[in-house]
Every structure is written in C-alpha cells, then in structure tokens.
Amino acid sequence: MSVYVVRRTLQALLVLFVMSVLVFAGVYAVGNPVDILINPMADQIEREQAIAALGLDKPLWEQYTTFIEGAVTGDLGRSFVHAAPALGLILERMPATLELASAAMLIAVLLGIPLGLWAGLKPHSFAGRSIMAGSILGFSLPTFWVGLMLIMVFSVMLGWLPSNGRGPTVELLGVPVSFLSLEGWRHLAMPATNLALFKLALLIRLTRAGTREALLQDYVKFARAKGLSNARVILVHVLRNILIPIVTVIGLEFGSVIAFAIVTESVFAWPGMGKLLIDSINLLDRPVIVAYLMVIVTIFIVINLLVDLLYSVLDPRVRLAEAKG
C-alpha cells in the first residue's frame, strides 16, 4: 500500500513536470503579452524596462528554469496584470468553482443513478423511454445555450432566480461559501443545474447500461433464487456491481467539471477559476494561465488517486499492490 502511494506520487511528479514543459512552451507560442500589457504610447526605453521587469527579456529556457525554481518552493510566478502571486489568485477563486462543481456533481449523482436504475429496470416502459430521450437532450444541447435559456426563463420571464454572481457568501472554516444561505442557494441553483446537465445524462446512460447488463448475470438470478426481496437484489447485488464503473466516471468527470466549468461560469458570471482563466487568456497573463493548468493537473491527479483507492474498496478483486502503471 505505501509502496503503491509512493510510486503514484513519483508518477504524479513526472506528469506535472511534463505538463509544465508543454504548458510553458504552449503559452510562449500563443503571443507576446508585452503588446497587450504595455501602453502603446511608451517609448523604447520604457518598453525595455517593462520587459526586463517581467523577465521576458531572457530566453525561454531561462524563464522556464526560473519558473521551476519558484515552483519547487510553491511560487508559481506573479500575475502580469494583477501584480499578485498567480497561485494566490487561483486559490482565492477556487472555493467558488469547487462549490459549483460539487453542487453540479451532486445533482448529477443524486438524479442520474436513480433515473438510470429505473430506466435499466424498466427499459420498455414509458418512464424508461422518457428518461433515455431526456438524456439524449442532456448530451446534445450545448451548455451555453441551455444556460442562456435558463436565464431567460427563470430570471427574465419568471423572475424567480438571480441571473449572475454568487450572492452573499458565508464563511465556513474561513472559506466563503454560498450554500449555507437561502440567497446563496438561489444563486447556485441555475449554474449548478446547467453544469450538471451533461454529467446527468452521462450517469443515466452509464447506470442504465450497467443495470441492464447486471440483470442478466447469474448472480442476480441466484440472489433471487435465494428468496431475497427485489429491493435487496437491486440495491445490494446489482448496485454494488455497477457502482465500480460509475465511481470511476464520477471521479474523472468531477475533475473535468472543475476544469471546464468555464462556459457555465462565463454565462452566469460566476466568480470562479474558469472566469479567471478566460480573463487571463484574453490578457495573455502567462503566469496565471500556467499556474491554473498546473493546479488543474494536480486536481486530476489527486482525484484519480482517490478513485483508484475507492476502487479497491468497492471491488475486492482489485489489489493496489499489483496494479501496474
């Protein structure tokens, strides 16, 4: 077990290193921030001073070594625009994104698994067919469009929910959160639903497919032959088996929800990391972009590790010590 964790950590560091090289080179290729950041009226001397101040006069490899030296001590550079540590800027925005992502994932899981189970148990019923038809919509409607429609219906036409922002936040262990107040919930409801929609559709389909497959297995028939109630057969025997792929997907999708909440955050003006990233890309704020991507990669790595650990709990056939790669 400890060997496993050590090996995974080394792998993670390798992934982070490779990622940092790619990101650094990629961002360098995108464009020169100096053109955007510096007053076009500035003269050549001011210009060169500014470039030197940002460290952009040095060759790429030297900029990269400087970055790595800082990164090892937890300093991912300073934002060109905000003149503040990039990591600090991101961490400041992270609770908002995490809250949105968690709420979305919760909606997707709490609705998706029961609906998928239902559709899997009664695939030919009206309800089963309706659930599947709905999930196709969830897959195919573009997120931004659904977001705009939600705003139009619930904010503009009905006036029930606020269309943007986080609303008032309450401090929970020093972290500002929305979900502890009713007003916060009203702000959270629409963006979370919007973000959940795609994942909901995915979970419905996954759960349904798993259920249909599990129902054909002999162990289900044997469980019924033991005289177990239907509820026990489904909630214990079927669900425990289909939970294995579902947990994997939930884990991976949670990472992607955090990373790619950008669209939803933009539509609902949610003050999260995604919006920060968009703004930073527009201004070519290199340190923030790089730091954001490093943070996201770290989140993905941590979630994957957690999923693997959870996997071994759910499926006794999986032994972590034997897992390779």
Partner: protein
C-alpha cells in the same frame, strides 16, 4: 410408487412472447416427484429443461411467462401465487443451483453476507445465529477452515469450491426440493465426480428431493431414481433410471444414448442424431422429432400423446407412435 408426493407438475406451459413470435419453451410438461426422490431431467440445449426449472422457482423473466398448467408443491399451487408468497418459498422450500459457479456468486460481496442474507430473508434469526448456520453449512459441503472462508470473496475460491458454496447456500434452509441446473457441466471431470457424490449424500441426508437438469445421460445414470427426457419443450419419455437406460422406448432417447462415446464400439464411427433440434417457433406438425427420427411414419404427422409402455407396474410412459418398447397391454 413409494413415499409421498412432493411435487406435481401438470400440463405446464411456459411461453416466451418475443417480437419474432411465440416461443413455446415448455409446452405441456407433466411429471411427479416424491419426497427424497431424484429426477434426472435430460435434454439438449433449448429443449426447455432449464425453463421448466425456472418455472417451478417462479423465476421466468419477461417476455416469458407461464401460460397454463399447474405446479403443486406439497399440495400448494405455485402457478399464480402472489410474488411475495413465491419469494417466501424461493430459497426456503425450493432452492436452485446454477450451471456456472464462476457466475452465480456475487463477485463484490463476501461469502458470509451472501450466505446469511439467504437465512435472514426467511427467518428472524440474529446475525450471529445466521453466521453460525452459514459456517455449519460450509462444513457440511466439505470446505476446509470455514471461518476464514466466510470472510473471503468468491474470486478467492476455485470453481469446484464455489459450486460447493452455492450448494451450501441452496441447502441453508433445508429445502424440500432442490433444482440443480447442470451444476457439474462447467467443472473438471474429477471435481464433477466429487460434487455429484456430495450432492447425492447431502440430499439423502436432508431428505430433500432433487431435480437434476443435464444434457449428459452418464451423469444422471448413477444419480437419478427416475429420468424424464425432454425434446422441444415436451417430455418425450419418462421412467425409472434403470429401465430407460437399459431399454429406451423413444427413438430420441435411443439417439441420445448412442451419442455417448463410451457406448460405441472402439474405432467405430460415433453415431449421432441426424439434423438439428428444431426451432421452437417453427415446430413441425405432429411429432416434433419426426424429421430426425429413423422410425417416423405417416402416423407421426399427428402429435403423439404420452402413453404407457412396457410392464404396467414399471410406470414408464413415452410420447411416440412407434416406441422401441411395446405399449403396455391393458389387462381386462
């Protein structure tokens, strides 16, 4: 007939209503089983033998359903029994063992839970009492160090051991009837023998009746008291094990026996039944076997009924116009 009657299946019909048409998987099957008796239900794949077992268990899945006939267990009618009453019988009075032990145990649950849940589904026993009974059941089927094994997962067992666990689960509530659906087919020959022996011993000790479903006549030869041969959803021959094997009355049974390699002279070409089992959706008119039957004649265009053959006291019956054993002559 010795003993008292446990199970009486009469005119059972289980049909599957598929898009392509109605599949008459079980069509007019009747047999009786006494307490403590072992019935070998023999037939090719698709002959309806497993579906007969599922029908008794009340485990026929849609689009299939029992459309007619009756199944009486200790005098109680099972066809049309409410779901909850049927559930209370399953695993309690009637138990079933399946073909592939690799598939019958839930891979993500420990053995102890899979065993105790079968007890707790039928009795208000405590968790500890149920565990003790589960442990005893493992001992009874010959599993070493049962306490450790209770905490294990199915993948930690070999195929033979898993089948023993499945048998232990089936026997937990001392059922009156055990339906064993080819439980040795998926096992090594050596393990097959052990499991056969174990089943024989356990059912004899517990006084349970056994329906042993198989396609392998050599398996039932040493095990069954009586044999029922199924073909295309119908029982075509019934009789005591010794009589049927010594002198089969139905040409199909004869064909099955001839297909057993060890019965053929060494070096001779293996005999086989010509043709293929017919589709259950398009059965020929009359006798379903007539297209493959060497003895078929004009009379076979009319479906034969079950008729007694051989000595009157032997209790043999066959569904054939031209049986290999003459019809019983009724005394005036």
């Amino acid at each position: 007939m010795r003993g008292n009657l446990l199970l009486a299946v009469d005119g059972l019909r289980t049909h599957f209503f598929t898009r392509a048409g109605v599949v008459k998987a079980v069509d007019d099957v009747s047999f009786k089983l006494n307490r403590g008796e072992v019935l070998g239900l023999v037939g090719e794949s698709g002959s309806g033998k497993s579906i007969t077992g599922y029908s008794i268990m009340g485990l026929v899945d849609p689009p299939g359903r029992i459309v007619g006939g009756s199944i009486r267990l200790s005098g109680r009618e099972l066809v049309g029994l409410p779901q909850e009453a049927m559930r209370a019988l399953r695993g309690n009075r009637v138990a079933m063992i399946f073909q592939d032990p690799m598939m019958t145990l839930n891979p993500v649950m420990r053995i102890d839970r899979q065993m105790t849940e079968a007890i707790l589904a039928h009795a208000d026993a405590g968790e500890a009492a149920a565990r003790a009974r589960a442990r005893d059941a493992l001992v009874a089927v010959g599993i070493p160090s049962p306490d450790e094994r209770l905490a294990a997962y199915p993948h930690q067992f070999s195929g033979g051991m898993r089948q023993r666990v499945a048998i232990a689960i089936a026997l937990l509530n001392r059922p009156d009837l055990i339906i064993a659906d080819e439980p040795t087919t998926a096992l090594d020959v050596t393990i097959q023998g052990q499991i056969l022996y174990e089943m024989q011993k356990l059912t004899r000790d517990s006084g349970a009746s056994l329906i042993w479903i198989t396609h392998d006549l050599s398996v039932v030869a040493g095990l069954a008291d009586r044999i029922a041969v199924m073909y295309a959803g119908r029982i075509v021959e019934q009789g005591s094990c010794a009589d049927v094997l010594a002198a089969p009355a139905h040409p199909y049974t004869q064909g099955l026996l001839d297909s057993v390699p060890s019965r053929n002279p060494r070096g001779a070409r293996l005999r086989q039944i010509p043709g293929m089992a017919p589709s259950l959706m398009a059965l020929p008119e009359g006798c379903a076997f007539r297209d493959r039957c060497p003895r078929a004649g004009r009379a076979c265009a009319i479906a034969p009924e079950m008729e007694a053959v051989g000595a009157a006291e032997a209790g043999r019956a066959v569904r054939c116009h031209h049986p290999l054993v003459p019809h019983t002559v009724e005394d005036a």
